[in-house]
């Protein structure tokens, strides 16, 4: 260790070690640069990163923390509090199934079982071909025309198990 570094004392701001890919890193930095002046910027930044990458990589936490000059614990605490944010890349399509009461009254429980069985995955998982990730959601605001499902950002109503299969087939055929 050189004399110079030994004298440096406690570093005020170091570049955090991270294993982000270049794209991930550039995206996180660009989103931070764009939004960090906003009032209460953390949620908009996390949304920005997830919108761009599809997820918020674990190693984005120290980078965002250093950009906002807050602790990693604060960023991690926020990221892990909200159900919407994901740390792993999603499948090519994200399917949210409504589990809430109004949908339950018209068959959501059976639909959920069908979805898990036909896709062979549980909630918060992705099919092995990387096509579909399945997530629960608690009301999509379509409670008079349930059961409700959101495929990517599109709401679908009156989704029977057969209709669910159709929607999945359509999604798969899109890419």
């Amino acid at each position: 260790m050189s004399r110079k570094s030994a004298l440096r004392g406690i570093p005020i701001k170091t570049e955090p070690a991270c294993s982000l890919t270049k794209t991930e890193r550039d995206t996180v930095l660009a989103v931070c640069a764009r939004l960090k002046a906003a009032a209460g910027p953390l949620l908009p930044i996390l949304h920005g990163v997830q919108a761009a990458l599809g997820y918020v990589p674990k190693d984005a936490v120290p980078l965002i923390a250093s950009e906002l000059n807050v602790t990693r614990a604060e960023v991690h605490g926020v990221l892990s509090f909200y159900h919407y944010f994901r740390a792993e890349p999603p499948g090519r399509h994200v399917v949210h199934i409504c589990r809430a009461e109004a949908c339950q009254s018209v068959g959501a429980v059976a639909l959920e079982a069908h979805a898990k069985k036909s896709l062979g995955i549980d909630f918060h998982q992705t099919t092995s071909d990387g096509a579909v990730s399945l997530e629960p959601v608690y009301c999509l605001g379509n409670c008079s025309l349930g059961p409700s499902v959101m495929v990517d950002q599109r709401l679908q109503g009156k989704v029977s198990p057969e209709r669910f299969d159709e929607l999945i087939a359509q999604a798969r055929s899109r890419s």
Partner: protein, 519 residues
């Protein structure tokens, strides 16, 4: 633009059952036949079971057809769609459909009528008259009008809006905020969404008036991520309003400033609670704050903040325009004005019904709703979201009124009614209520964070028939602890659905087969 005006809703629920495909089919078919049409993507009329609804403007009024599928479109043209002529899907004049005609649409006056993307359309339909009236008043006079109207918060707690505004006005600060609670997390509710998508300007106008009244120059709309269509509609409307001088540094040349932005939530039910929402807006975990201080005194970034629900704020323009008396004259007792009721779940004719307070559940379920969708008897309804009580048939004569609901240990909340037929397993519903509380707990206090998880376990044992009397006593005791020991209404009200299910539908908890297993 010329050509006959045809309306197909842009509302997310209408799109969810194919409104875009119908709109495309209409354009294609019209082009094929060489007919010029002006396709307007309006908000939904709220007759959701008839979506996708197609309306045609005729000299005598708008004529409706529905629910329409794309393949029926050529047939509609053949039958004389352009002249509003009969067809199997013909419904007559939209505004003469009894479900619609019998409503009292104050807050929803324009939803379904106008093009939500058009500021001009808004202005042509009495838009911004409330703001103009407010600009001529002192802040205290605006607050007085809202107080006199009797308007109470529509987000659930039913606190008088005028009193909240008065507190913010009376608290000096160099910066104040107006925050619109658009988190609408309750199952069985979508009235906020319908306003934001179907008439976003009315919310913007209401927030601007709130800003003038409270002395706040910045506003935020905290919108749940689950509503991407509402985000698009709000962003477009804010841009249009800013462009035209209805928002910004100098509103309509008055020298008053108000700016507005939309912020997205991230899937946390608890962020609908106002202090949790403020934490979230500040970029923190959505944990409940201790009160006091009230948000009206120290809210967003510790500044005085008006926090109101979408419907509360969207009801303000008509109060300023028509007067407090006009609004107050609807309703009864201490529940004044109208409530946009959402009839949802297992119901034949689900939709939005804006009515003066006082209508009974029974009228809503049978006269409007036409009974269950499955055709089976209605066994239970849950009113007021996931924290609302389950009501049996014997309570269906309860009028829609905050105090009447409180009397039977229930709550109106945000006006959502979820209908269940006789196939429902109420023990499963009670279990779900506890499970939901466990999933959504912010974790700040023990009765809710741990109690909800233990609650699921106790209900599981009760259902399994393991020493049921003891389990039931334990469950009631736990609910008592949650009711009185929780910091906020998530833990505090979860016992409502649980205990009401237990009291009114006891047989579902003690299944004969399970009881035998006790041995």
């Amino acid at each position: 633009m010329s050509g006959t005006r045809i309306f197909v809703s842009r509302d997310a629920s209408a799109q969810a059952v194919g409104a875009n495909e119908v709109a495309n089919a209409l354009s294609r078919e019209a082009a094929k036949r060489g007919i010029t049409i002006e396709l307007v993507r309006n908000g939904s009329r709220g007759l959701l079971w008839l979506e996708p609804l197609v309306e045609v403007a005729t000299d005598a009024g708008r004529v409706a057809y529905g629910p329409v599928t794309p393949d029926q479109v050529p047939g509609l043209f053949d039958a004389g769609l352009m002249r509003g002529e009969p067809h199997a899907l013909y419904l007559g004049f939209t505004e003469a459909i009894p479900y619609f005609k019998s409503q009292e649409r104050l807050t929803f006056a324009r939803v379904g009528l106008t093009d939500p993307r058009s500021l001009q359309d808004y202005l042509d339909h009495e838009g911004y008259r409330g703001l103009n009236a407010a600009l001529a008043l002192e802040p205290a006079a605006i607050v007085a009008k809202v107080t006199a109207s009797g308007l109470r918060g529509r987000g659930g707690a039913a606190f008088p809006a005028g009193i909240k505004w008065k507190t913010v006005l009376a608290t000096p600060a160099e910066q104040k905020y107006v925050v619109c609670n658009a988190d609408e997390g309750d199952s069985g509710t979508y009235s906020d969404r319908m306003i934001m998508e179907g008439d976003p300007f009315v919310l913007i106008e209401g927030m601007t008036i709130a800003g003038l009244a409270a002395g706040a120059t910045r506003g935020f709309i905290y919108l749940r991520w689950e509503y991407p269509q509402a985000k698009i509609a709000l962003d477009a409307a804010i841009a249009a309003a800013t462009e035209a001088g209805y928002l910004g540094e100098n509103i309509l040349g008055s020298g008053k400033a108000f700016s507005l932005e939309v912020r997205l939530g991230a899937g946390a039910y608890i962020c609908g609670e106002e202090t949790s929402l403020l934490e979230s807006l500040e970029g923190k975990r959505g944990q409940i704050r201790y009160k006091p201080p009230l948000p009206a005194v120290a809210g967003l970034f510790a500044k005085p903040t008006v926090v109101n629900n979408v419907i509360t704020l969207a009801s303000v323009p008509i109060i300023l325009d028509r007067g407090a008396e006009y609004y107050r004259n609807y309703g009864l007792g201490r529940s004044r004005g109208t409530l946009p009721i959402q009839l949802t779940g297992n119901i034949k004719r689900g939709g939005l019904i804006e009515k003066a307070f006082g209508i009974t559940l029974r009228e809503l379920l049978y006269d409007y709703g036409g009974g269950s969708l499955s055709g089976r008897p209605i066994r239970a309804v849950q009113v007021g979201g996931p924290l609302g009580a389950y009501l049996p048939e014997s309570q269906f004569d309860t009028p829609i009124d905050y105090e009447e609901f409180a009397k039977i240990g229930a709550m109106l909340g945000h006006g959502g009614i979820v209908v269940f037929d006789d196939t429902v397993d109420m023990a499963a519903q009670a279990r779900y209520a506890m499970e939901f509380c466990a999933i959504e707990s912010c974790g700040k206090c023990t009765p809710c964070r741990i109690g909800s998880t233990r609650g699921v376990e106790v209900i599981d044992r009760l259902i399994a028939g393991r020493d049921p009397d003891r389990q039931e006593a334990l469950l009631r005791d736990l609910c008592n602890t949650m009711t009185y020991g929780s910091l906020c209404a998530l833990g505090g009200l979860t016992p409502y659905p649980v205990i009401s299910a237990l009291n009114h539908f006891h047989q579902d908890f003690a299944k004969p087969a399970a009881v035998k297993a006790v041995g």
